[in-house]
């Protein structure tokens, strides 16, 4: 029976095991540095906000794996891979042989190397431990979050929901600049500020100030001190590649993989946030599941190829409706359709290229997000519905329009002759053709 060893039990690994455990004939060993099974990391924010419990976000616990004959080595970090011997060695020291190895070590949060970043009370926002640390704050205590991206804002909103006095410090000019354009970012900022979260954009941090080895405040480079009981850095992730690098696998920003999710060693696959595929690294869950599916196929000897597809983002902050998908950078061959309703706090921007939707940003009303996402993924030609596309699928088949309704279709209708602009027998700028057509019409 071939041995499959999987390092890491995050969401990608969980999906992979699910697939592999239904295929008979494999012995699976699952290492996880965290002393627990697989949980839905995306749902940590609702846990932080008190809207869900940890129990509710567990997707595959130890019992699940054991039922499927998986050997779980939770709480044990893998220390080395011996590609020659085809073994993996964990902290407990006994090498575990593999026929196939899947590295799913995920990513590490990036900690800004500010002076004082190692003080107690300076945390990232990555796992349940970080979440619990934030949850331990009492109402009225102060927290600073560095990073106004998806995770940072979820952390801020979650703590704020618990009564914590939160300030977000963001280096860029507007929040969530990777997912939102300036207009939507500003709407989001207004929204958060109106809830009582302080937001400082275009703001650089200089130093973490401490007292008795514990964080006391964040010093900004403009000299302002932001007192805090907890400092959360949520400024991005780095693929966790140390183990793979040590094993001599080819590296880019992450572990380089081909479309079959194989690393430079065909017996070693990698999936999840630790990989780099076609120059891309990954932070959202949808492509990770795709990778797990492809990896399972590859291991089972079936043809499959991973293709990165458009992903959509939603911010999981209750009451904030925000959606972002695709590419929305400005470019000469791109066209915008923009809807703004400042009173209702709604903003939508669609980015078009060659009559196809390539990006969508929405704020305040994201009901049509999935539909837009579909249009982007399917590269649907939207020229026929361009007038209403921003209003969503509910208007595709809406009442037919015609500029002639201004002037009595009923009059124009006499004799049932074509008289509307769209079926008129002639087009502007083609008088000769038009005359011929009109003559034909008359003859008829």
């Amino acid at each position: 029976m071939p041995n499959l060893v999987i390092i890491g039990a995050g969401m990608a690994a969980g999906r992979l095991v699910e697939r592999m455990s239904t295929a008979p004939g494999w012995h699976i060993t699952l290492f996880n540095a965290e002393p627990r099974g697989t949980y839905d990391r995306i749902m940590l924010s609702p846990v932080l906000a008190g809207e869900k419990t940890y129990q509710q976000i567990i997707t595959h616990d130890a019992a699940f794996y054991e039922d499927r004959g998986v050997t779980c080595r939770f709480g044990e970090r893998v220390t080395s891979i011996d590609r020659t011997a085809k073994t993996v060695t964990g902290e407990e020291g006994m090498p575990v042989p593999y026929d196939k190895l899947v590295i799913a070590t995920g990513s590490n949060p990036f900690m800004i190397p500010l002076p004082g970043h190692d003080l107690d009370g300076v945390i990232a926002y990555r796992d349940l431990d970080d979440t619990e640390r934030m949850m331990s704050l009492d109402a009225g205590q102060k927290a600073v979050v560095i990073g106004g991206g998806l995770l940072g804002l979820e952390a801020a909103a979650g703590m704020h929901a618990r009564g914590v006095d939160v300030t977000v410090v963001h280096l860029m000019g507007h929040l969530m600049e990777r997912q939102l354009d300036e207009a939507a970012g500003n709407l989001l900022r207004k929204d958060l500020v109106s809830r009582g979260i302080k937001v400082l954009c275009s703001t650089n941090s200089q130093k973490v100030l401490g007292e008795d080895g514990k964080v006391r405040a964040l010093l900004l480079d403009n000299g302002t001190e932001l007192p805090c009981d907890l400092l959360c850095m949520a400024v991005g992730i780095r693929p966790n590649t140390a183990l793979a690098a040590q094993a001599g696998l080819d590296m880019g920003k992450g572990i380089l993989v081909n479309d079959q999710m194989q690393t430079s060693d065909p017996d070693i696959l990698a999936i999840g946030e630790c990989v780099e595929h076609n120059g891309a690294i990954f932070g959202l869950v949808a492509p990770l599941f795709d990778q797990a599916e492809v990896a399972a196929q590859t291991l089972l000897g079936q043809p499959a190829a991973f293709a990165n597809r458009e992903t959509a983002t939603k911010l999981k902050v209750t009451g904030v409706n925000l959606f972002s998908a695709g590419d929305f950078a400005h470019a000469d061959d791109r066209e915008d359709i923009v809807f703004r309703d400042p009173k209702a706090g709604v903003y939508k921007r669609l980015v078009l290229q060659n009559d196809r939707l390539i990006g969508a940003v929405m704020y305040g009303d994201t009901a049509d997000g999935a539909w837009f996402h579909g249009l982007i993924k399917d590269k649907t030609d939207i020229s026929e519905m361009r007038d209403t596309v921003i209003f969503g699928p509910g208007f595709r088949g809406g009442g037919a329009l015609d500029p002639m309704v201004a002037v009595a279709v009923s009059l124009a209708d006499r004799n049932g002759r074509p008289t509307t602009r769209h079926n008129a027998p002639h087009q502007r700028g083609a008088p000769a053709r038009a005359r011929r057509a009109a003559a034909a019409l008359k003859a008829a």
Binding site: V338, F339, A406, D413, A430, P431, A437
Partner: protein, 876 residues
Amino acid sequence: MDGTGTPSIRSTCPYCGVGCGVILRPDGVGGLTVDGDPDHPANKGALCSKGLALGETLSLDDRLLAPKMHGTQTTWDHALTTVANRFSEAIAEHGPDSVAFYVSGQLLTEDYYVANKLMKGFIGSANIDTNSRLCMASTVAGHKRAFGTDTVPGTYEDLDEADMVVLVGSNLAWCHPVLYKRLAAARAARGTKVVVIDPRRTATCDIADTHLKINPGSDVALFNGLLKHLANTGTLDQSFIDAHTEGFADALTMAEADTCRATGLPASQVAPFFMQFARTEKVITIFSQGVNQSTSGTDKVNAILNCHLATGRIGKPGMGPFSVTGQPNAMGGRETGGLANMLAAHLDLENPGHRSAVQQFWEAPAVAQSPGLKAIDLFDAVHDGQIKALWIACTNPAVSLPNAGKVREVIEKCPFTVVSDVTDQTDTARLADIVLPATGWGEKDGTVTNSDRTISRQRGALPAPGQARGDWDIFAEVGRRMGWHAAFDYASPAEVFREHAALSRIAGSFGRDFDISGLADITDAEYDSLAPVRWPVTATRTGGRFFGDGKFFTPSGKGRFVAVKSRVPAATPCEQYPFRLNSGRVRDQWHTMTRTAKTPRLSRHLAEPFLQIHPSDAATLGLQPADLVRVTSPSGTAILRALITPDAAEGAPFAPMHWTGETAPAARIGPVIAAATDPVSGQPETKAATVALERFAPAWYGFAVATADLSPDCAYWARMRTDAGWRAELAGTETPDCWTSFAHALFGLDTAPATVTDPRRALTRLAFWQDDILQAALFISAEPVEVARDFVADALGTPAKGLLAARPGEDMPDPGPTVCSCMSVGRNTLIDAIHASPGAALDQICTATGAGTSCGSCRPEVADLLQKYALREAAE
């Protein structure tokens, strides 16, 4: 009172010359419900879309409630004294012909009588003319030439008995819908043959067996050809000709010299019409503005009358020539003499015997000796400085007269102008020195005479708003203040009417037609309860037809043939102005829309002025449907929406006349029409201007709706009422830097709108909500704007989520543009109904949707849809 305890008041509709009876019931909160009067002989309970919507036109929001001098409110006393003094001064300094009245076919007979008496008998000038000049003058002149008097020979009942009805220059279906309905019913019952003679295909053609699409202005050639045919085929009534007429030989000779070629019709179309006319004894020729509004209008009338005289088909049941008038009281105006070339009671200004009899009756100082200035000449005289004081009552010449641009300047230049009207929000009233608040329909008391000589009471059912007074009262008061106390000492319209009826006794004594002396002694109570009565009303005779007995009102007592020769319209198409512009009415609007534009229901049918143009002309011009077209004539220019349809005559596009500076300043047709007039009647030729057409290419097109009135500032706009506010079409030559600022100025708002922009397509949409209720929206596009207009207009005052999509969502059917105004049934609803019940007849579709079940004016349009979409179904 009726059974419900609500007081019900019988009156008449203020629109066209059919003169339908209505029953008014005040709703107790300033409004009225309006129903057709089943007992009125003109309509027997039927009403058209305009009549049915009368109750919606009574809002006081633009009413003039107190006199104003130079825009500032003043007292009646001050205003009237000023008017009297300025007129008296002008007369003292420059003579009686230095003052003039320009009045209206909307005035009641009593109003007309007092104004005419004041001008012709006491001021001593005949400078009183009326907008009937634009409408009926050629018929008046033609009648007088042939009959000796302005007499309509027949009655509406004749329509029920005719075997053939020829409609010349009459879109009866839209302009006289209740008569049209009557004709359609007769046709259904007895197979009446209907012939429409009109350069364009109109809704009336829906019941036509034959449509002769003649060249504009060529009616004389056609009827001369008919006369020739009648002579050649021995269809003449030689004994009638010999015994009761004169001038036949000359008329026939002239006709023989004429040729039908001018009509542009092939013999294959003309011959069957001639033959049918020749062999049908009971034939009626209905004629209207297509005949009258022409430089050969009077000759056209006589060419028609000649054919009826030659066959003796006049004044007998089911036959005769029949002029249908455009205004409710054009006939009453003619009866009182309210035209510059008439005296009073169908008596002649030129006749010294008539003059002295009237002078004696009035105990007047100086009866006018010679005809006064007819409408066009009158405003020319103002221009020349001859008129020092001008009184315009109840009409809007700055819009409606030809060369209206000049008329506007002229009024502004006149040293002293008084306007009495229900509103000062008209293009004309804005130019006046003094505006006087007059009572309007629903408030006024008096009588009107319809197209078949039926005199009916118009009765007030509502109190006069503010300080408004009846027109008769205003004229009488000025007469008293000018020093003629006894002559203008009227206390009520009944008193005026009795005097008018008594005066007509003189006409009777001269052997004239208009004699209602039988009503001269009616009491106030009898006047109040006067039932519709057809004149004459004398001790010996009431109503009936004229001329069947061969007795005419000419000096010889014989009917006169008039030798006429066809003439082309005054302006000839040339390289610079190659098109001929036809003009006229649309179904749901009336004149300059001062009343009809108040009702959103009516404004839905055609919410924008347009140019109906033939596809081949459009192709030549590179026009697409919904483009804007610039219409240019030597006298002015207008911008109109292109409505491309084979209904229009090739080379002769059509534009409606209704839009004004208030509703669509760039789309006024008046300024485009040159002031050429008929040499006999003085009636302007408003259907044959020569024009150049070109596509008007604005930088942007717009559509706007707003709960409050909007003030567009752009090259083209046209606005209309909606249920909850206003809608407007817009177009501009320069794109504003900021559409939000433009919208703020347009709507008078300063809040932040919701917007959609698609810069590549120059598409911008803005909408304003207040407390989640839609206040205003603006749709801008580089192309004619695509919006579900009725849907958007109806969204005003509602939450209207998703409005900027400019159309209803999938789950909300769009009823489409309104076809049936009464029942608010849209085109899409009708098409759906037609699809849903294949093979259904018109009645079934109407019953299923409600369309055409009220006034029935839209039934031709429903029939068209049925034909089109039912056929399509069959073809699939």
